[in-house]
Amino acid sequence: MTDVITIENLVKDYGRVRALDGLNLSIAPGEVHGLLGPNGAGKTTTIRILLGLLRPTSGTVRLFGEDPAAEAVALHRRLAYVPGDVELWPNLTGGEAIDVFTRLRGGADRSLVESLAERFDLDLRKKGRTYSKGNRQKVALVAALASEVDLLVLDEPTAGLDPLMEAVFQECISEAKAAGTSVLLSSHILAQVEVLADRVSIVRAGQTIETGTLAELRHLTRTSVTVTTEQPADALADLPGVHGLAVEDGQTRFEVDGEHVPIVLQHLAPLGVRSIVAHPPTLEQLLLRHYGTGDGVPSASAPRPAGRARPAEPARPGHTSGATSRSGR
């Protein structure tokens, strides 16, 4: 079966500025694919090229196996798009805007629109100019989810939604996925991607620097371990792949590279383990590794020159929450 989206070596120049620099992306039918990257990484540009709104400078782009610029109209019948910054007509109500979008796409079940509006707690009778950012986002989401399409293209779709609505959104996407709809989900909300995405591509400076399932990506990073042992576990610090080991209140905390986990476990067992907690890396940690470094090469991870002696763990939540709140804006 042909992939829903195939992008190979995509380059896009705006004058002298290179927005995309050899980006690759592929999405299989029925897959929910998370597109992650910092602002300006090229996520929105990629989506606009996929929609045929921008023309690529070079590279191959195929949507359902076709050229998105040449076959825009036919292809757009099969997809629905939610922009990151939804702008509505000030004098049209949300309900009118939803009808405009769904009808121009080929029509939608009106009762579905109403039930979605109810789930998202959206007042369809308000004029576009009176909606808050979150409500404008809901209008676009309802219009997209009400259409029967093969592909949903969502560009940071829940920016401005409150956590309750975020949960409704996740439900809706899960339902769409169950119905076999493919989803391209560009997002900053990592928890959302972790819950929804089958595969993830991390984009940075116009290039795909990592792609794969979450499990595959986690191989590339470290597991955080907290153990309480009967005998001191300081010696673990000398093992290859162990980082930032610290002892506090009888607990030993350290991080270990994915491929060295088995050896560390072998060394732990004789020390008399009373309790052990191991966290898989969150996507935030994955992203921090890529955003925090200049080249995105895995070996250059963890730019913590002073962090070797002290545990790095306490510093992390701070960084992490910083990244999350930025994405929430």
Binding site: R48, P83, G95, L104, R129, T130
Partner: protein, 552 residues
């Protein structure tokens, strides 16, 4: 909270001993506003003032002697001056550069001053509330009248600055002092009246655009009334006196000067400002006097394709223009009868003004028809600018992500604009024909003017096509269309006076339109205009298809 009970201060003194009334914080807000507008307002004031020396320098170049000026003024007197200038004092005996300037050009300074005030008031009152910034400000130690009062002071300062600059400009060109004062204060007073109008309008709706559109409608509507008054009787009549224009123009500066009309401006301004303060007390911060209505939950069944969507989006604007131009048409048409009466008294030179037709009435109506063509061209231009705003504000993107091609999207908007232009022009001209016929008793004018509207339409379509082509190539090129419309508009009225070379006049699309009513209608220019319009539109559609959507 409960501690406050019983400790209510008897004088408006806050607990820290500093005064706190409804005006508290006005000074600080004023300084803040001055800082925010430190570039914009001086630009407006200087932009208005600089045209005084500009016009005088231009006059001296164009008409080296006052004899040549006298020839010109014979050309632009009577209804023409009423339409374009004002009551037309000082164009007869004692004509000079100064009186010519006052009769024909000062009205544009007044319009500019009014626009400056409308935008200033809207910017500092309603826009602030709408964006929620006023809430931040009011949460501090700021009285409920502080923002209004600070804006009022800003308006007074700005109008005083305009007055001083205009005065300085006139004095620099050796205009008599008392007349110069009258003209300059007249411009400032007119600005102040519209500041007051804008204050009231800003209270009515919670949307700044509605408020400034209302104030703009007052500016335009009173212009039409004034023109009707000034056109139908020499030096205006009651209609003119109903408008703020007269209160500044009827001071008869440099002729038989009188100050008292300016008093009306002062009284009206003060009354409106008091009204605005009262209204502001009757509503909550951020709210309008009229609650915003909820609309329909689903779109009308006919909105199913790009053309219908374009029509839905342009509908409000088209309705407003139909109303405005039909009213203007009715008013202007009704001046035909008085024109016929006054024509009997006109000298031979005056008759030359209407060289286009054997019948002076038809020539007069042709002048009015050309005005309508230009007004509709302005509509067309603004409509295409709205299309551009759809793209630049990001509303085009989600539509283009549906099964609507880029060409279909643009074609829908352009088609609606083109059809609306034709309908507007025909309706406006028909309305003009109706009152022209009733005021002269010649009922064939209704048909002739309706046909004239149709004959004028291809010229407007050229503007639609041009705007489409420029926009299709790049949104940044659209201002070129504005330049073409402005130039062609001026060329239609002043081109022959200024002896512009044929090559320049050829730019104007309505230069080729048969002078109807009056002249025989020839098909060739109309076909060529239509063809040019179609080619330009096609260029625009093809170019738009090929170019990237401008991302926000």
């Amino acid at each position: 909270m409960s501690a406050v009970v019983g400790a209510r201060p008897t004088s408006p003194q806050a607990s820290n001993g500093r005064p706190s009334g409804p005006f508290t914080g006005t000074g600080k807000l004023l300084r803040f506003m001055v800082r925010r507008d430190r570039i914009r307002l001086p630009a407006w004031v200087i932009g208005i003032g600089i045209f005084v020396p500009y016009f005088f320098t231009a006059f001296e170049t164009l008409f080296p002697s006052e004899a040549e000026l006298a020839e010109l003024s014979a050309f632009t007197s009577g209804p023409m001056i009423g339409l374009l200038g004002g009551p037309g004092y000082g164009l007869g005996e004692g004509l000079s550069y100064v009186t010519f300037f006052t009769a024909l050009y000062v009205v544009y300074f007044m319009l500019a001053a009014a626009l400056m005030n409308i935008l200033l008031v809207s910017r500092h009152t309603r826009v602030e509330e709408q964006t929620g910034r006023a809430e931040l400000i009011r949460a501090n130690v700021v009285g409920r009248y502080a923002a209004l009062t600070a804006t009022l002071i800003m308006a007074v300062i700005s109008n005083a600055a305009v007055t001083l600059l205009v005065l300085g400009g006139l004095l620099a060109f050796d205009a008599p002092t008392s007349g110069s004062l009258l003209v300059a204060v007249g411009v400032g007073a007119f600005g102040m009246v519209f500041a007051a109008v804008a204050f009231v309008c800003a209270q009515v709706s919670e949307y700044s655009r509605v408020g400034s559109a209302l104030a703009g409608a007052v500016l335009g509507g009173t212009y039409v009334l004034r023109a009707a008054g000034d056109m139908s009787s020499e030096h205006g009549n009651l209609l003119s006196w109903l408008t703020p224009y007269a209160w500044s123009q009827q001071t008869r500066a440099f002729v038989d000067e009188r100050w008292w009309p300016l008093g009306i401006s002062a009284v009206v301004s003060i009354a409106l400002i008091v009204l605005a303060y009262r209204l502001s007390d009757r509503r909550d911060l951020g709210a309008g006097l009229r609650a915003s209505r909820r609309g329909r939950a689903s779109a009308a069944p006919w909105v199913t394709n790009p053309i219908a969507l374009a029509l839905r989006l342009h509908r409000g604007g088209i309705r407003g223009w139909v109303f405005g131009l039909v009213v203007a048409g009715l008013v202007y048409g009704s001046t035909t009868g008085p024109f016929v009466d006054s024509f009997a008294d006109m000298t031979g030179t005056m008759g030359e003004m209407f060289t286009t037709g054997p019948d002076p009435v038809l020539g007069y109506l042709n002048t009015l028809m050309v005005m309508m063509v230009i007004a509709v061209a302005v509509y067309a231009l603004l409509a295409v600018m709205r299309v551009r705003a759809e793209e630049l504000d990001g509303r085009a993107e989600p539509v283009l992500a549906t099964a609507v091609s880029k060409q279909a999207w643009l074609a829908g908007h352009v088609l609606v604009t083109a059809l609306a232009s034709i309908v507007l022009l025909v309706l406006a001209c028909a309305a003009m024909g109706l009152t022209a016929a009733s005021s002269t008793g010649d009922w064939s004018l209704v048909g002739e003017l309706t046909v004239a509207g149709l004959v004028g339409a291809p010229a407007v379509l050229v503007i639609v096509g041009l705007a489409c082509a420029l926009y299709g190539l790049s949104p940044r090129l659209l201002p070129i269309a504005t330049v073409v419309v402005t130039f062609s508009g001026l060329a239609a009225f002043f081109g022959e006076l200024l002896e512009l070379p044929e090559a320049l006049l050829a730019i104007s699309p309505w230069h080729y339109t048969p002078a109807v009513p009056g002249e025989a209608i020839t098909a060739a220019p109309l076909l060529v205009q239509t063809l040019v319009a179609l080619v330009l539109a096609a260029v625009g559609l093809l170019a738009f298809r090929r170019r990237d959507l401008v991302a926000t």
